[in-house]
């Protein structure tokens, strides 16, 4: 099946020198143009066992300027990787604008290997395929070029290659298994490649049996694809089907009920003690936790966060305040910086503002284009689904106050010496767009709040109530998670 997809010529030995020189100069030229165009290029070199992936990548590194090429070849025993969701390391190593990154052991081939080794089931592989498609599409939507090469060899060729190395230290017991499983493996590969192909990022299949023909063909694909991509007129931005929701998730009660000070203190202490104790189980069970806080300016996010972490061991959590992206972050997909901070198993990360900035401030201020923020809803859902499927407990809070209460707090801050720094013109500017924000928040909750990943809207006109609510929801969610995992 794979064989029929091979679509390149054999190279005569005598022509090779010439062809190599030509492809080299094309590739160098293409690399330079990528730098100038400030767009990222992702190249996947994957393939059957013993099909020469390493050799192909080594040759590519010789042809291209290796100083501006990063090769991501993941070795074994990367403990850090295993303690994070599957896509974490691939995100971490994504090229920035103007960079080219080559992946050996990419997301698709590792998934296939995991399935063939019995580490993941068919259903998990199919889920993975969805994630792969969404991941790649999201990179392409963000302006990247994704080139995917698969190296294939026939059963006869594999047999020959194994014969050659049978009595050397290069031979591995796994090779024996690979040969025995050959037909099934090729079937799985064929179907997986078909399911992860798309006109924008189709798998190209190469015959791995002759190294020179293979590498010239790969080089040509890469040069062709980069040239076409850079030469073609920019595509019109796709119109996304999207309509504002008519939902009313935000409530602004007229009357505020609050705790009495001593009731509050007692309940706070009680919940903090529960949380403190839960952490033993969280660490024992290696549960990772992500908490995202969003909310109106002056709604009390900071205070809620402080009460949440107070009972925790400082080595166990990190708080990531999210401000505008740095240069480096800006050169990457907007989710890159959030993926980077996904906690390892058994740890907690709190985001003080989060990836939802894309559909809130970036939408309203126009920092994200319509195509960008409209597609962000599904990108975000996918991100959170991936966290979940790795076992991360994800909690999302919208800290809500009424427009009147916000004004009251702004005024209060202005007259309180140690709070004055907290209030700036920007706060008033944001406030003047209150109604637009309400719509954006409603859309966000409607389109990203799922049954499994709900938004918790916390009424915060009473700060005391809101701090208690955050702790109640957190402890009860952790409790459920612990029970499920025990």
């Amino acid at each position: 099946m794979l064989k029929q997809l091979i679509n390149h010529d054999q190279v005569n030995k005598s022509d090779y020198k010439d062809l190599e020189q030509k492809i080299r100069s094309r590739l160098l030229q293409a690399q330079l143009r990528v730098q100038q165009a400030k767009k990222p290029v992702i190249i996947v070199i994957a393939g059957d066992d013993r099909s020469g992936r390493h050799e192909a990548i080594n040759r590519l590194s010789k042809w291209l300027d290796p100083r501006f090429l990063s090769v991501n070849a993941y070795g074994p025993s990367q403990h850090e990787d295993e303690a994070k969701p599957f896509f974490w390391r691939f995100w971490r190593d994504l090229p920035g604008a103007g960079e080219i990154a080559v992946y050996l052991r990419d997301w698709t081939s590792v998934s296939i290997v995991q399935f063939l080794n019995g580490e993941i089931k068919k259903s998990k592989l199919s889920k993975r395929i969805d994630y792969i498609n969404n991941f790649e599409q999201s990179l392409i939507d963000d302006g990247a070029l994704v080139i995917k090469c698969w190296l294939h060899i026939s059963k006869a060729e594999l047999t020959n290659r194994l014969m050659e190395i049978r009595d050397t230290p290069f031979f591995d017991i796994k090779d024996e298994l690979a040969l025995r499983n050959y037909d099934f493996a090729v079937e799985t590969i064929s179907s997986t490649l078909a399911k992860t192909s798309n006109p924008n990022r189709a798998w190209q299949i190469y015959d791995g049996s002759d190294a020179k023909s293979r590498d010239i063909a790969i080089g040509n694909t890469i040069a062709d694809q980069i040239e076409t991509w850079l030469d073609s007129a920019p595509k019109p931005t796709p119109k996304l089907k999207w309509s504002p929701s008519n939902s009313t998730h935000l409530e602004f009660p007229e009357k505020v009920v609050s705790y009495k000070e001593d009731e509050y203190k007692a309940r706070l202490a009680e919940l903090q003690e529960i949380l403190r104790k839960q952490m033993f189980d969280v660490q024992r069970l290696s549960i990772p936790i992500v908490v995202a806080f969003e909310g109106w300016d002056a709604a009390g996010k900071g205070g809620a966060i402080r009460r949440l972490v107070a009972p925790l061991d400082a080595g166990f959590y990190r708080i990531r305040p999210i401000a505008k992206p740095s240069e480096e972050e800006y050169r990457h997909h907007y989710l890159w910086r959030f993926w980077k901070h996904v906690p390892r198993n058994g740890h907690l990360t709190i985001f003080d503002r989060s990836w939802y900035g894309r559909v809130l401030v970036e939408r309203i201020e126009g920092f994200a284009s319509e195509f960008e923020w409209k597609r962000a809803y599904s990108e975000i859902k996918d991100f959170e689904k991936q966290l979940k499927s790795h076992g991360v407990l994800v909690l999302k809070f919208w800290i809500n106050i009424s427009k009147e209460e916000q004004l009251r707090r702004f005024k209060e801050r202005e007259v309180t010496p140690h709070k004055q720094f907290k209030i700036t013109d920007e706060d008033y500017r944001n406030r003047s767009r209150w109604d637009e924000y309400v719509k954006a928040v409603e859309d966000m909750i409607e389109y990203t709040g799922t049954k499994k990943n709900p938004w918790h809207v916390i009424s915060s006109d009473s700060k005391l109530m809101s701090r208690i609510s955050v702790l109640e929801i957190t402890t009860s969610s952790i409790k459920k998670m612990i029970n499920r995992r025990s």
Copy 2:
């Protein structure tokens, strides 16, 4: 001995609430000022076993705004850390300008523990002490504040604490040993703290027996030190004893001898094959390698690097082209970005330009102040010594050409279509300062080329000769390293 150094009051239980409120507001104020002053603060909380370091850090995280505090508490089984030089993770986690970072398990206490556990010998501990002093001094010279707190408890108190937990899961066999070793441990701690104290960064000793008194005292130290540091008039820049060298390491031969094309090709292939084979041993022996390339514009660094990596497996090396620092890099000590890229054991990193920029371009263009570049010579020596002592093979190449040859190559580039992008006005500007650069290079070689870490000046008026020289020196250095480690 430690006991006599304790210099804080006991807190009455009845006063605690008041004191806590006061210290909290001072700390929050101090934290805000640090952000505004855009300077980094490093706080070390270390101490005897069972002296309450964790509790103290947790309390600090409650008092300060935890959103802008990073706590570096290193757990066990950080494989990545072990495959890197000792100071690597501490450098990685350094605060940037305006940030406060707290270290639990810092460089000094880990060194003491390693010594007490027999993992390092007395001589290694003494070497470590030198590195610690240099490390901290270098941070202070760079504008940081370093606050170091040591929590101490008496033998009687330790005995009590162990009695209390003896029959609980919190008791550890190591506690038994700690008690038996108490006197020796305190002796080691006392002498190590004395040797790593300095008026700018003296260890403060606290009585760990009463948690409240201890934490109030620590809080006061931190607030006092930050306030004093920010309030005091900027110190006049120290005058460093330094004089230009009169060395003549650079040679500019009038007559250039080169290889014939076929001789070159044969020798190149031979050396690349040697290098290729050496890599099996390098990986087997887990030898990390760092190669730094410096040299004149158009001297041929890129070509030499390409010939060097051509025989290598692409997953094994990384090339780091060094341009101007990013925002984030700029907010840190200048060595921070180089520490970040130190390879793990068994890997190779090539720096295309390096930390030597500090004493070359930054010196000449005035990007570094006199105090900065003058002290950089010893900072750099220390950095490389640390790499060496971890077992890193460090190679440093200066690729040298004559002024005439440089001009010839500039002209050649200008008329070669695919090389035109390589030549800019900046190249001519640098060239106009040739003589100043010669002096800077001479000083660099004189002051950072040591017997163990020599500079290799590569005559590159003939590119072919220079590529061969780089490979010859590299392979022979690797060979020596392999022999030593086998």
